[in-house]
């Protein structure tokens, strides 16, 4: 049971958390696909792998947070969103820009 007061456990809060989870799911799905397709490009694989590690940590934190909101929720059933890619534009150029934005540590540059 959440420690938060009932009045702050709103649908808005839940929606925002779920959206964040869905975006992490979406970005992770893209990275998994991209890692599988990246072949022997070592530098790119390292950057993608770094970002993947960060996202796995973020996903775990979001899952714990959602369960704190409502223990009956199963965050794994939340689907995917591609809003995470929107700041980079649309289509293939957006993906290229996204990959270029990944630093060696895996942080996307703003």
């Amino acid at each position: 049971m959440a420690l938060t007061m009932t009045r702050t456990r709103t649908q808005t809060a839940l929606t925002k958390l779920a959206e964040r989870v869905a975006n992490v799911h979406g970005e992770l799905a893209y990275l998994e696909w991209r890692l599988a397709a990246s072949g022997s490009e070592v530098a790119l694989r390292e950057r993608l792998g770094g970002r993947r590690g960060e996202l796995l940590d973020a996903r775990e934190a979001l899952y714990i947070t959602l369960r704190q909101f409502d223990p009956a929720l199963d965050p794994q059933t939340i689907g995917t969103l591609d809003a995470w890619l929107r700041p980079f534009g649309r289509g293939n150029p957006a993906m290229k820009r996204y990959e270029e934005s990944l630093s060696w540590e895996g942080h996307p540059r703003k």
Binding site: M1, K16, L17, I64, Q68
Partner: protein, 166 residues
């Protein structure tokens, strides 16, 4: 010498009890700290990384895991026992086991058994959901039964009497 032995045994027992409580609380604190770290990480993802440091700690009111949980637990226990009844002692023991983690000390557990159980059962009686099977002014162990909207055997006999007279 006998007194000394008694006191030593009593103090050793107290320390043992404290050690068990400290161990349990340490495990509980670790679990809560993990959740706190996860929520702090989400705050950073939401671009408010300073949030965990600026929000003051509050003593959140969440006895028994949430509002109405204790009452609902008793409702379920008595409903499951119906048409049988449960005595106060049994209900208290079952409830203490169920809500074990919510007590911070043995004193709290004893207070719960002594006060909260009877108080909650009396509240359910006032709400008309439970019936008391013992006189209110007695020190004997009380009996409690889930109340259903059906005529009791006493009502049925009275109704039969009405029919015969009619």
């Amino acid at each position: 010498m006998k007194w000394l032995a008694n006191e030593l045994a009593m103090l050793a027992g107290e320390m043992q009890k404290i050690d068990i409580e400290v161990k349990r609380l340490a495990a509980r604190r670790t679990a809560i700290a993990e959740k706190h770290a996860a929520l702090a990480k989400v705050a950073a993802l939401a671009e408010v990384p300073q949030l965990p440091t600026v929000v003051p700690p509050v003593r959140a009111h969440h006895p028994y895991g949430g509002r109405g949980n204790l009452r609902n637990f008793f409702r379920e226990a008595l409903r499951a026992a119906y048409p049988g009844a449960l005595d106060s002692r049994t209900i208290a023991e079952v409830a203490v086991r169920h809500f074990w983690d919510t007590f911070e000390s043995d004193e709290q557990r004893q207070y719960f058994k002594r006060e909260r159980v009877t108080h909650t059962l009396q509240k359910l009686v006032r709400l008309g959901e439970v019936e008391r099977l013992h006189p209110a002014s007695t020190n004997a162990v009380g009996g409690w039964r889930w109340k259903v909207d059906e005529p009791s055997i006493v009502d049925l006999i009275a109704m039969r009497g009405d029919l015969v007279e009619g």
